[in-house]
């Protein structure tokens, strides 16, 4: 950390206010925000969705959508120059040269029709008068610095030929090629797998140190904050509610909102609750395989083994977590078990019935025993039907009368802690967390034996996530349900699971008691995965308890 009194800050946001268009619930997206970033400093701007953190970042770059969001007050000074008052031409000179930005989605932030080298070169031709050879040398040099293998080949590649992590490195190279004084990173690792995230965070830190860049880092993830921040500013509803050195804010938060946020981050330590030893097995799979593709007449036959030899079991009252990175096959397994897709081979035993190859007719009778909750709360409910109609659909499919079904729906709404009188409302009248509760109610209306949660809390803000997790756990206990919990988030898995299966490239590489797997991982991949989790040295749950106590 730097001494703020002696060196002037690189970026100084002073009492910034950004107006929302008319007709929104609040007038300002950003309301009187003041933040400064000193030389060689990484400042994290943390907040939940809608807190105004991204709007603040885009204001600095002058990239706010015209006519929709307008800065109406305050100043943003980059090396003393107010960018809010800069002409369009001056702003263009600054962008890419003095200040740069990297974005959340490396998949979409690069132009798919230009090679990576050309896209970096464009920065050089726009801002410098270097000749061809000098430009090429500079491109190869920066690609080297972001630790991409074989820079000439990378420069000649199109974005779709690279992995997500590699694309984000290209973005970083493009942002830093002219050594800007300020780098703005808008959730740059959110879309990446945890192991890639670790590498990118490390790269940003390293390169920031060598180039002495000031970094404004936007994130929602306190793990990332613990990993990278020098200072932290916490935002809520367009205002900065707490600001200070990272260590102090994370360990000794003052404001209730900060305390709540940090307290909501799941702990890494498995809960280790006592379990009934010999509860009956509800679900067991035996050598379950799912293979995609393989053999058009003209295409090269390339089969993808999405899941291979997956054998797991879940007992009544128990939660099995399947953890893994994207493409590990964890969702494929969940969807096979729910028979939304047909497994290629193997067995799925529900109690003693093998449903792996069951016909549609037989399946229908068995469907109600397995229910699934999906990731995206905005697409899981038919927007044209009332939530009541969505909840009673299942029971009425199996012959329940409307009156009785609605009666059940009302009691389920209370169970998921929503107003039973809200059954005649439509999904858009509920928030994401509330919709996820409705989806849980819809699943429970079938009185299932097994509940599958497929990344069911991944799209939710951390405070909402904590509530939904608690609700799921409570329901599992009260109804003595077997639960299959699919997640990429190790913290979430540690908090809710009794047993854990770690998947990698379609296979289960480690499978055991949660306490065992988390405490003493055996497989190399599991260890690498755990080591990469951001903020692993930082026990949030107990820090919050400490702060509260």
């Amino acid at each position: 950390m730097t001494d703020q009194t002696s060196t002037p800050p690189i970026l100084e946001i002073d009492n910034l206010t950004v107006d929302l268009p008319d007709g929104n619930d609040r007038r300002h997206a950003v309301d009187g925000v003041s933040i400064s970033v000193g030389p060689r400093e990484i400042v994290c701007l943390v907040g939940e969705s809608g807190s105004g953190k991204s709007v603040t970042a885009f204001s600095v770059m002058g990239l706010l959508p015209k006519g929709q969001l307008t800065p109406s007050g305050g100043a943003i000074r980059l090396m003393g120059e107010n960018v809010l008052e800069a002409s369009d031409e001056r702003l263009r000179e600054l962008r890419g040269a003095r200040m740069s930005m990297i974005f959340q989605e490396p998949m979409t932030a690069l132009n798919p029709t230009m090679t990576c080298g050309d896209q970096i070169e464009e920065v050089l031709t726009t801002h410098t008068s270097l000749d061809q050879a000098a430009r090429e040398a500079k491109i190869l040099d920066i690609l080297e610095q972001v630790q991409l293998p074989d820079p000439p080949r990378m420069a000649a590649s199109y974005p779709h030929q690279l992995s997500g992590g590699q694309r984000q490195r290209i973005m970083i190279a493009m942002a830093l090629v002219l050594e800007p004084v300020l780098l703005i990173a808008d959730e740059p690792t959110t879309a990446l797998d945890v192991t890639t995230q670790e590498q990118i965070l490390k790269l940003i830190k390293d390169i920031q140190r060598t180039h002495e860049t000031a970094v404004l880092f936007i994130t929602h993830d306190f793990g990332v904050v613990a990993e990278i921040a020098d200072r932290v500013a916490v935002m809520q509803w367009g205002k900065v509610v707490e600001e200070g050195p990272a260590e102090a804010v994370l360990k000794r938060p003052h404001e209730p909102y900060t305390k709540m946020l940090i307290g909501a981050v799941p702990s890494f330590t498995p809960h280790g609750r006592a379990r009934e030893a010999k509860a009956p097995v509800v679900l067991a799979t035996d050598a379950l395989c799912k293979t995609y593709g393989g053999g058009g007449f003209f295409q090269k036959a390339r089969a993808v083994n999405a899941a291979q030899d997956v054998s797991i079991e879940v007992r009544r009252g128990e939660t099995l977590g399947i953890v893994g990175e994207s493409g590990s096959g964890k969702s494929t397994v969940a969807r096979c078990i729910a028979r939304l897709i047909d497994p290629t081979s193997g067995h799925i035993y529900l109690h003693n019935d093998d449903i792996a190859q069951a016909s549609q007719t037989r399946l229908r009778a068995l469907r109600r025993r397995v229910q699934i909750i999906f990731q995206d709360p905005y697409r899981s409910l038919n927007p044209r039907r009332t939530v009541g109609a969505s909840i009673v659909e299942g029971p009425m499919n199996y012959g329940m009368g409307a009156k009785e079904a609605y009666e059940r729906a009302r009691s389920l709404m209370s169970l998921v802690r929503l107003d039973p009188g809200a059954l005649d409302r439509f999904p858009h009248q509920f928030s994401g967390g509330q919709r996820q509760r409705i989806c849980i109610a819809r699943a429970l209306a079938m009185e299932p034996d097994l509940l599958i949660a497929d990344e069911a809390v991944s799209a939710l803000d951390v405070s909402v996530q904590a509530q939904v997790l608690e609700l799921l756990d409570d329901i599992r206990r009260r109804l003595d349900l077997a639960m299959l919990f699919i997640t990429h988030d190790l913290r979430v898995a540690a908090q809710v699971c009794d047993t854990v299966a770690v998947m990698h490239r379609g296979r289960v590489v480690e499978y055991g008691e949660a306490a065992e797997v988390f405490g003493n991982p055996q497989h190399d991949y599991t260890r690498a995965l755990f080591a990469a989790a951001p903020g692993r040295g930082f026990d949030f749950g107990s820090a919050a308890a400490l702060a509260a106590g």
Binding site: M61, L63, L91, R92, E93, L94, R95, G96, A97, S100, M101, F103, E105, T108, A109, L110, N111, P112, T113, M114, E122, V123, T126, H127, Y158, H160, M171, M174, F298
Partner: protein, 313 residues
């Protein structure tokens, strides 16, 4: 790439086969005996029977279909009832004017439609955008022949800038040839320009909302550079696709335009054939136009890989 061309060429076979079946069944659904028509009013029953035999009309329907397709593949479309001529010959004579009209129209359309579409997208929400959109809706709404007559009335009758009607082959000199094509081409291109300008605007507008456009602005590029270097290239695939699909519109327009301007092309032949119930000619024209349409769209498919590096065969 070569494998892909072969694959796509093979994929057009079932489509064209389907067209052939439709066209064949259409002829068989018509009332009347083709042999009787060919024999003419004074044909004796013996002559009719002879013609029936020679045309294979006594064979089962499937065999007839086979014979007919086999003949087409050899370039034999049969005899025209109306012109009493070889249909293939008839069509070849009429190809040049239609080809000339279609080509000039296509060139003119692309030269006008793509730039105005791009400008409309870039000036989204301004009066320029609204003007282009208004033109586009109007272009869709005004019937080709009404437009043709309005243009004749204004530019050929009132100010005598162009000949009223007619066609001159390019062998009669380039200027007479072009001079007579200008009004028909403008007439024909208006609806096509409306279509292409609209899709250009829509796809450029969509691309302008992409993340990489934001990245380009974040690099400090000027709006012009963003528009031309990043947006247009990425918007090209849907534009080219609609140019291909729009050929159907063009073919329909050719029929009308040639009638209005008295151009002796395939369009005029179509109308004459329909009025004369000249089924072999109708069949042949549909087969030829459909073949051209399918082949142009195949070409369009192949250009995708030039426009978008993600599409590789």
């Amino acid at each position: 790439m070569f494998g892909f061309i072969i694959q796509r060429l093979l994929a057009t076979i079932p489509v064209l086969g389907m067209v052939a079946v439709f066209v064949f069944l259409m002829l068989r659904l018509t009332p009347g005996d083709p042999a009787a028509v060919l024999a003419g009013d004074n044909g004796s029953p013996e002559q009719v029977a002879e013609i029936r035999e020679s045309l294979g009309l006594n064979e089962p329907l499937v065999v007839q279909l086979g014979i007919w397709i086999g003949n087409i593949l050899q370039g034999d479309f049969g005899q025209s009832y109306f012109f009493k001529k070889d249909v293939a010959e008839l069509i070849l004579l009429r190809v040049e004017p239609t080809l000339a009209l279609a080509t000039t129209t296509l060139i003119f359309t692309i030269m006008v439609a793509v730039p105005i579409g791009v400008i409309a997208a870039y000036k989204h929400g301004t009066w320029i955008d609204r003007a282009v959109m208004a033109f586009s809706v109007a272009g869709f709404s005004i019937p080709v022949f009404v437009l043709g007559y309005i243009l004749i009335y204004l530019f050929a009758m009132q100010i005598d800038l162009f000949p009223v009607q007619g066609y001159k082959s390019i062998t009669d000199g380039f200027w007479p040839f072009l001079h007579r094509l200008i009004l028909p081409s403008i007439t024909l291109s208006v609806i096509y320009i409306a279509l292409i300008a609209r899709i250009t605007r829509a796809s450029v507008l969509e691309v302008l909302g992409e993340d990489y456009i934001r990245t380009a602005y974040a690099k400090g590029l000027t709006p012009n550079a963003v528009l031309l270097k990043h947006a247009l290239r990425n918007a090209a695939v849907p534009i080219v696709t609609v140019i291909g699909i729009g050929i159907a519109l063009l073919i329909g327009g050719v029929v009308v335009t040639e009638s209005v301007y008295n151009i002796p092309g395939l369009g005029r032949l179509t109308v004459d054939a329909v009025l004369g119930r000249d089924y072999p000619t109708i069949q042949a024209i549909i087969m030829v136009f459909s073949f051209v349409y399918v082949m142009i769209n195949l070409l369009v498919d192949l250009t995708y890989s030039l426009l978008d590096p993600r599409i590789r065969y």
